[in-house]
């Protein structure tokens, strides 16, 4: 018998395992993938944030000047540039604010300046750090430089960078920009309420009624995921626009603006809300539900006391997801927003329209906030829901009820008509000669090569992007998830990795794209070479959609027995053998899910890539945007529908492959 002398751990350092070859390799993998995320996510975001908080201003007090007489003799008077300007008012205050590459010529300080005059000038910095340019020569220091008129013409000041909130001050004092916050919040809130209600009713009808064609309805509800978010905008233009078939329905209101954005948002966020709520309803306790019925509570009361509370986490989660999707979406308001400004479009306008990158960064920071809040709430709620899931009891079996089933059927049919209608209008518009005057069919709108936007090559690029993203993304994500799940100890590394893997969910695509400009387009960055290539598009897409893929992989890995690695180690087998022989085959369905998710999103994404494509790497989704912008709406619709068919085909292929694998592996999957 051992006699315990004390209950306290003896002093000393905790033992640590000697690291085996496996441990080192796994840690290596984690670090490599973490490094990938740092370079493609953390660094760009940092570059963007520092952009948002830095201002550039010319500082005239940095230089002093001397001017000679007509014969080139100096009388020794030293002129401060700042004092000169204060005296003359030659350069107004608001021209002092500039951007990183602003340059200020000093000639306006000398009203009688002429580059042909024999007058000579002397210039020097007032501090050792002063920098100014003479032509392309960079001059520093406080030594006098004597220049003739012609050379003095080529003297320019560089702006001084300072860190602070002044960009934000400018932003919030510009009403047209500030308005966008209000608009974005308003549109997102209303769209969220409507979408979640509609999707809840739809999911409720599918899970609690005995109507027919449930499978078909489910399929239709998922269709919007397969198209870019701007496609409903195009359909709405055809339906309710200036030449729309149903223009009268609008009663004089314009579809360009809040109505169009909201309707389109409902369309493209519907499947997201539907999936989440369906899961929540499946979880909401069936036994409790039956108990309520057996207590003879009215159906109405049961609904409010059992169904809604049971699904509450799902509803909250769906609301935040939809809110986030709407507020960060760029394509739809771009197409149908008209003069109605939204935050995401502001970023685009600031960057593409006005080349004001700092202001683009400021709007990005503003847009990050609601996205971060939504993200944080969603994560909390998801955790709670998982807890509910494990406690769930019996699967609910609806009983036929003719009246209720009929109402459900009618409702679902209406929703299905709305979704199919939007897609149908796009397809129809793409096939007619000239809407609405000549409705005879033609394929001329598919002649993308004669239009702006990149033509058929853009379509080919999109497929290439989809395949590359799916291929490399799945590998990176799955290996990353495996390593972070299975590596022993190494808390810090794993914690860092988990954080980096969750971060992309909170970063809107536009913000990520802009951050990439700042980081990768910097000439000092050795990775600058990938700017403008397919590689950067693949990278930004993988990073943008990293979180959901990562969570899918982690869920699949968690369902495997946690002791496989221990068994393999006891059998002296390296982890990669286990990974290849067991982990990957067992997780194959999840791996395929990740691949198709990445493919579909790479095909439809606009926001993440709109700042990053080049003429060689134009994409189908961008082509839709650009053709629409150029007024080629029918070809835009045609291209949008090409994306739809491609994604639909990819999904069917995915389904077939998954089914095939499940069938082939049925023997060992049974149970």
């Amino acid at each position: 018998m051992s006699v315990t002398t004390s209950d306290n751990l003896p002093k000393g350092r905790p033992l640590t395992l000697k690291l085996g070859r496996d441990d080192l390799m796994m840690r290596g993998f984690i670090l490599v993938i973490a490094l990938y995320l740092i370079i493609t996510l953390a660094f760009p975001l940092y570059a963007m944030l520092s952009k948002a908080f830095s201002t550039f201003q010319f500082d005239l007090s940095q230089v002093e000047l001397q001017v000679s007489d007509q014969d080139g003799n100096f009388d020794g008077t030293i002129l401060s540039a700042e004092a000169l300007n204060a005296q003359l008012g030659a350069i107004p205050e608001d021209e002092m604010a500039t951007s990183n590459d602003g340059r200020l010529s000093l000639t306006p300080l000398f009203p009688d300046f002429s580059f042909r005059s024999p007058v000579l000038y002397k210039i020097r910095g007032t501090t050792a750090d002063t920098v100014y340019l003479i032509g392309s020569d960079r001059i520093t220091g406080t030594d006098w430089h004597e220049l003739d008129s012609n050379t003095f013409r080529r003297v320019v000041l560089r702006p001084v960078q300072s860190v602070g909130l002044s960009n934000f001050t400018t932003y919030f004092s510009t009403p047209s920009l500030f308005r966008s916050i209000e608009n974005s919040l308003f549109i997102s809130t209303v769209s969220t309420i409507v979408t979640v209600s509609l999707a809840f009713a739809f999911a409720y009808a599918l899970s609690r009624s005995c109507m027919r064609f449930k499978g078909l309805f489910r399929l239709v509800a998922m269709a919007p995921i397969l198209v870019p978010s701007l496609l409903p905008g195009i359909a709405l233009v055809y339906l309710f626009g200036n030449q729309g078939m149903l223009k009268e329905v609008m009663m004089g209101e314009s579809i360009y603006g809040p109505y169009g954005i909201m309707l389109g948002s409902i369309f493209f966020t519907f499947p997201h809300a539907f999936i989440i709520i369906t899961t929540a309803l499946a979880i909401s306790d069936a036994r409790l539900y039956e108990a309520a019925i057996s207590l003879r509570a009215s159906a109405w009361k049961t609904f409010w006391t059992v169904t809604i509370p049971g699904a509450r986490y799902g509803l909250i989660s769906a609301a935040f997801v939809v809110f986030n999707l709407v507020i960060t979406d760029f394509g739809l308001p771009k197409v149908i927003g008209g003069q109605y400004n939204m935050l995401a479009v502001d970023i685009y306008k600031q960057v593409i329209g006005q080349q004001n990158f700092e202001m683009g960064a400021v709007v990005s920071v503003v847009l990050l906030m609601p996205a971060f809040v939504a993200f944080a709430v969603d994560r909390q709620v998801q955790k709670k829901q998982v807890a509910l899931l494990s406690a769930r009891s019996v699967v609910f079996e609806p009983k036929p009820d003719r009246k209720f089933d009929r109402i459900c059927f009618i409702y679902c049919t209406l929703i299905a008509i709305f979704i199919l209608g939007i897609l149908g209008v796009c397809q129809f518009a793409a096939l007619v000669k000239f809407w609405p005057y000549d409705l005879s069919l033609s394929l001329k709108n598919y002649n993308f090569d004669v239009m702006d936007g990149g033509g058929w090559e853009a379509y080919g690029n999109s497929i290439k992007l989809g395949l590359l993203t799916a291929f490399f993304g799945t590998i990176v994500v799955f290996i990353g998830a495996y390593m972070v799940d299975k590596t022993r100890s190494f808390r810090v590394g794993r914690g860092l990795f988990q954080f980096l893997a969750m971060l992309p969910m909170a970063i809107p695509g536009m913000v990520l794209g802009l951050a990439y400009i700042f980081f990768f387009n910097d000439p000092d960055n050795p990775l600058n070479a990938i700017y403008g290539t397919m590689a950067i598009l693949v990278i930004v897409t993988i990073t943008h959609f990293y979180t959901v893929s990562h969570l899918t992989a982690v869920t699949a890995l968690k369902q495997m027995d946690g002791e496989f690695e221990s068994v393999a180690a006891s059998l002296k087998q390296p982890f990669y053998k286990l990974f290849a022989r067991v982990t990957v085959p067992v997780c194959m369905p999840a791996i395929l899910d990740i691949a198709i998710y990445l493919f579909v999103n790479a095909m439809t994404t606009v926001s993440a890539v709109v700042f990053l494509y080049s003429t060689d790497t134009a994409l189908a989704s961008i082509a839709v945007l650009n053709m629409d912008d150029a007024g080629d709406i029918a070809p835009a619709a045609a291209m949008g529908m090409m994306i739809f068919y491609t994604n639909a085909a990819a999904r069917i292929l995915h389904l077939a492959v998954s089914k095939g694998i499940l069938k082939r592996t049925q023997a060992w999957r049974s149970r």
């Binding site: 051992s2 315990t4 033992l15 000697k18 441990d23 027995d561 221990s566």
Partner: protein, 381 residues
């Protein structure tokens, strides 16, 4: 060639403590603030079958995982076959392991599961096949090799997990509650199979269990654990007959526990009556617990029909309740001298018939002094 015959069949008791196969010294394990194992030391001889026995949550698995290197101890050393393995990663240690979940690879056939570790051990294909066949025969499932784990019953899966664990003839076999996921019947049957197999292979084995019957019937030695400390190490009979602590006495088998006060010369007073006890190191005048197993109580028959001087350690009781449990009678006894405390006694069918025992009958019982144990009373009781 890797066969079980190459391994010397060891006999745990033949080895002196000096050349223990596995030594654990002052081992501690902390999870943050919580101390899961406190100052654990033990020696296990080659070929021995040792059970870690204790209630759920007492740290058995934690200790097993420390020995395997799956979850390293915070302090202390582990030595196997004379080599310090305290901080070696699992892959550099020499053990086979069976988990409660079995952790069979679901997508590999039984054959592939068993040969998983053999494939790069420098064996030819035919040697591997021969070894797999041999192992399947050994665990009594000769023609299941082409099936997948999900197609086998729980008991069969358990045997496959065992076959996989011994495939590479490890020096140490670790079993974490290997039988607890099975139905009672299969479990009893498999106890014998596992024990037979272990004896045949002579492999040093540690099995974790919370089932005392399992431990008593299978182990050469039992390590009884509670709250992260070792309460007692000993053979099954030692542990049963001579429990070192009240916890062990209570955890293993049935035990009457009676509050008492210790007296001079190994006596102990229960209620109004002083008994001679097996003794201990407890000074007189202390509050103690006196303990006796139900089957150790000897019935001396009817007071009326058989008048006699009460022998030492005997008292008169009344049977309040009798329950027939197949091979014996379990009786509840009320003894005036002991106060309000009831005794439980197991009497043989024979004795009950001979003494014509029945409910409400009075009888004299004897508590043999060497079977009456005295333990310090734990705080709060």
């Amino acid at each position: 060639m890797l066969t079980e015959s190459t391994r010397e069949i060891g006999n745990g008791k033949a080895h002196a403590q000096g050349d223990a196969y596995l030594r654990i010294d002052s081992l501690w394990k902390a999870f943050g603030e919580f101390i899961a194992l406190k100052d654990i030391s033990m020696r296990i001889s080659e070929g021995e079958f040792v059970c870690f026995l204790g209630p759920s949550g007492c740290g058995k698995t934690t200790l097993l995982r420390a020995i395997a290197g799956l979850d390293i101890q915070t302090r202390g050393t582990v030595e196997q076959a004379g080599k310090d393995i305290s901080n070696l990663p699992p892959a550099e240690r020499d053990f086979g392991i069976v988990f409660q979940s079995y952790a069979l690879f679901p997508n590999l056939t039984i054959e592939k599961n068993i040969s998983f570790g053999l494939e790069n051990a420098g064996l030819s294909k035919s040697a591997i096949n021969a070894r797999v066949t041999e192992l399947l025969d050994l665990v009594g499932l000769p023609d299941q090799g082409k099936k997948y784990p999900a197609q086998l019953s729980g008991g069969q899966q358990q045997r496959i997990a065992l076959a996989r664990a011994i495939a590479m003839s490890p020096g140490l076999l670790l079993l974490d509650e290997p039988l607890s996921a099975l139905d009672a019947k299969v479990r009893v049957h498999l106890r014998h199979e596992v024990k037979d197999l272990q004896r045949k292979l002579g492999v040093t084995t540690i099995m974790v269990t919370h089932d005392q019957e399992e431990a008593l019937s299978m182990a050469d030695r039992i390590v009884v654990m509670n709250h992260g400390v070792i309460e007692q190490i000993g053979s099954p009979t030692d542990i049963y007959r001579e429990p070192a602590t009240l916890f062990v006495a209570d955890f293993i088998g049935e035990m009457n526990k009676l509050p008492a006060v210790s007296g001079e010369a190994k006596t102990v007073t229960i209620g109004r009556k002083a008994f001679k006890s097996a003794g201990g190191e407890i000074p007189p005048g202390k509050e103690v617990i006196a303990a006796v197993r139900p089957e150790d109580i000897i019935p001396h028959g009817d007071v009326v029909t058989e008048p006699m001087e009460e022998p030492d350690n005997s008292i008169t009781c009344r049977i309040t309740e009798m329950e027939f449990l197949g091979s014996f009678w379990r009786c509840r006894l009320k003894c005036e001298a002991l106060g309000e405390h009831e005794l439980i006694a197991d009497f043989s069918i024979n004795a009950v018939r001979r003494l014509e025992l029945a409910a409400e009958k009075e009888l004299v019982i004897e508590i043999p002094s060497n079977r009456l144990k005295v333990f310090a009373r734990p705080a709060g009781e």
